[in-house]
Amino acid sequence: MNKLAISRTGKEAGSITRLPRSDGPPLRVARPATALRAVGIHKSYRRKGIEVPVLKGVDLELAEGCFTAIVGKSGSGKSTLLHLLGTLDAPDRGEIWYDQRRIDNLPARARDRLRNQTIGMIFQFYHLLPELTVLENVLVPRMIGLGWWGWFQQKKALTARATELLERVGMTHRLLHRPNQLSGGEMQRTAIARALIAEPSLLLADEPTGNLDEENGQIVLRALLQLCRDEQITLAVVTHDDRIASQADHRIRLVDGRVA
């Protein structure tokens, strides 16, 4: 297998594994219609010696630039699937392909880089860093991605981009506040800005409105959809809320660890 460093934006993405092709040497191909493809994903957790299967052979495809909703009841394995897609965890069996490369068995460093630069994630509980201000929270992924030198070189431009993103999610008045001074909706909007700062091509959201009231949920969702459309980002949202699912381009329903 060839190990090459490529990525959608041309950014350094570390060593990745390319799909073996029968028709000649590996090539950079035009964007396929399928951004992310999962094949036969199995995942089980071991609790006190008992194996609890969560995903039992999930196959799915996320279409490039589209909004896909993954719905299902509590405990159907939606969040686990999202974590696997976001390389936070590795499947027991099965393969995950993103942008023509297999990402589930990448070395840790390469997966870290992928999460940092290519995949944005949004969580139900916002997961902001309480010690940092809103602006700093948004900038953290770029701080992680860039070294000292890179950070100091691009600090101004990045701060401007972060401010712009926060403006687009309506958080301009909260730049220097700490997360504990924000409402749930504001925290989630900050998290959205953070997920987008590194210009990812894929955004995975785990119940982004699950902790918000309806009005705030709508604001957050609208902001999320608008941004993803503007930036042509492939969006996958795990939700049990049918109203959200109804706005999606595609819907994938998980029942008992399988795609129904």
């Binding site: 974590h83 976001g86 936070l88 965890d89 840790a108 460093r109 870290d112 880089r113 992928l114 999460r115 940092n116 630069q117 994630m121 969580f123 997961h127 902001l128 860093l129 309480p130 010690e131 940092l132 700093e136 953290v140 992924p141 701080m143 992680i144 991605g145 860039l146 070294g147 000292w148 950070w151 100091f152 953070r194």
Partner: protein, 544 residues
């Protein structure tokens, strides 16, 4: 960048970090204070020990003698002349010193050293410790006046004259009483009046020539000659008449000068109520003392000589101050009979050498030993460190052990950091998960906590160094403050060699302490940092 940002932010927002910083701070400050005091103590003590001891000493064992010292000096100069700065000969003999205080005789044993006025000061650090400022410039054994240290009170010539005139006055009064008694006894006793009835006693008027106490100090009194020698002297024809000026007159003359260790002469008194210290001098410069010492030779005989105390030696080393008395070398050689009547060569007890600074004393000692092989010359040849080996090695061992113990204190602080960090890692588990979800590598997460440990160690060490140095700078004031607060004396100058707590800050020591403390802080954060790095992001995110 995020590592530094988070490390600093954690440092600022975690109250518990403050506890770790304080423990590092205290450890570092303690280490610096104790080291400074100990090395100050050790170096001051070494200076003092070295002061009276020459670099290298060639001594005859016990009370033995080194005959022909000039030849020895020449041999030594031949052997190590290139490194030699100066040499001096000494006579060392145990002696008894007897002085009068409040009408009683007090005797004390001393180690009497006969020193050469010309060369002794160049070889041994002696003059700076004398209490007569004039003698610090040039060593002699003459009584002075007005140049003595304030703490001695009345002393010198004025004190001697005052004392002598007081004695004469008392003698005159006693003499008068005697005459009075004679006058009364001359009257034949009348049996009629020889009853128990009180008698009228007629006193003769006070003699007009008794010098007044205050007038006695005037110099002209000194030239007053005592009355002519009267009475029958059968040998008067055969000896030349002694003029009054040639007779020993304490108002004008002194015996051989002797310098006493100050602790031989004084007693420290402490007021039980106020705790204030005062000094009582049993003998002062200007007093006469007598010394009893053995003669040299095969059968030592006691000899007695009179001396006049001319000065005190105060090195603040109690061992020295309470032991040594110094007098001129020739005089001691003479009264001990160390001068060969035929050749006129005087033997000595030891030869002391001072070498150029930085000279290798051990090597020089060995070279001299080779020149005087022990089979032929059973001399004791040793450096000053050899002489004080037990004390010096005790201090060194003490310092080493103290350092180990104190580093253990910092190690305890290190375990505090370890525990604190584990707590912080547990508390920050979700944040660690977030960082990992955002693409932070394990090494990055690890460096956050290592950096946190480093920041903590550096801040703690920095504050500790500042605190320690301040403490050392004002240590005597602090000791006074503690004494004032608790009413207990922290540092008793009478117990030690020093009037103040001595300190010596070595920059290297500070650097080592700082490096050690920071290293311990970083080491203590390794385990928690590893744990943080190994957290799986999914579990960390799920952690509540």
């Amino acid at each position: 960048m995020y590592k530094l940002l988070l490390s600093l932010r954690y440092l600022r927002t975690r109250f518990i970090a403050l506890a770790s910083i304080v423990s590092v701070t205290l450890g570092v400050a303690t280490l610096i204070v104790v080291n400074s005091v100990m090395s100050g103590f050790a170096s001051e003590m070494k200076d003092r020990l070295h002061g009276i001891l020459a670099d290298v000493e060639l001594a005859s064992p016990g009370l033995g003698e080194i005959p022909w010292p000039e030849e020895h000096l020449r041999e030594i100069r031949d052997e190590v002349g290139d490194e030699l700065e100066s040499m001096t000969c000494l006579v060392r003999v145990p002696a008894l010193i007897t002085f009068e205080f409040r009408g009683r005789q007090w005797t004390q044993q001393v180690m009497l050293l006969g020193v050469d006025e010309q060369t002794f000061g160049a070889v041994c650090e002696f003059q700076p410790f004398l209490l007569d400022s004039a003698r610090r410039e040039k060593l002699d054994f003459m009584l002075n006046d007005g140049t003595y240290d304030q703490r001695l009170g009345d002393c010198g010539w004025s004190y001697r004259r005052q004392k002598e005139s007081n004695r004469r006055q008392v003698e005159a009064i006693i003499e008068m009483g005697r005459r009075n008694r004679e006058a009364t006894a001359a009257v034949p006793e009348d049996p009629a009046t020889a009853s128990d009835a009180p008698r009228d006693v007629v006193f003769l008027p006070l003699p007009a020539e008794v010098p007044l106490v205050n007038a006695a100090a005037k110099p002209e009194v000194a030239s007053q000659s005592p009355g002519p020698i009267t009475g029958f002297d059968p040998a008067s024809q055969h000896r030349p008449q002694v003029r009054a000026e040639d007779l020993f007159n304490p108002l004008r003359d002194q015996h051989t000068g002797i310098i006493l260790g100050v602790a031989i002469a004084n007693r420290m008194l402490k007021d039980p109520d106020t705790g204030e210290q005062s000094e009582l001098f049993l003998v002062r410069p200007g007093d006469d003392v007598s010394i009893t010492l053995p003669t040299a030779g095969d059968t030592p005989q006691p000899v007695i000589d009179n001396c006049t105390v001319v000065d005190f030696y105060s090195s603040n080393m109690h061992e020295y101050d309470s032991t040594f008395a110094f007098m001129p070398l020739e005089r001691l050689q003479k009264i001990r009979g160390m001068i060969d009547p035929v050749t006129g060569s005087a033997s000595v007890s030891s030869i002391h050498m001072r070498f150029r600074p930085g000279a290798n004393l051990e090597q020089l000692r060995d070279r001299i030993s080779a020149r005087f092989p022990p089979e032929m010359f059973p001399y004791v040849i040793q450096t000053w460190q050899d002489t004080q080996r037990p004390l010096l090695s005790a201090v060194e061992v003490e310092l080493t052990i103290l350092n180990i113990l104190l580093f253990l204190i910092i190690a305890v602080a290190g375990f505090g950091i370890l525990a604190t960090f584990f707590m912080i890692v547990v508390e920050k588990t979700r944040d660690i998960g977030i960082l990992k979800a955002l693409g932070a590598p394990s090494s990055g997460v690890m460096s956050i906590f290592l950096g946190y440990g480093l920041c903590l160690g550096m801040v703690g060490t920095g504050v500790g160094i500042g605190l320690g140095l301040l403490f050392v700078r004002y240590i005597n004031e602090i000791a006074d403050g503690i004494q004032w607060l608790t009413g207990r004396e922290v540092f008793d100058p009478t117990m030690y060699f020093f009037s103040e707590i001595p300190t010596l800050i070595s920059p290297w020591m500070v650097v080592w302490v700082a490096v050690g403390a920071v290293l311990i802080a970083v080491t203590a954060s390794v385990l928690p940092a590893l744990r943080a790095a190994r957290l799986r992001p999914v579990e960390a995110l799920r952690y509540e």
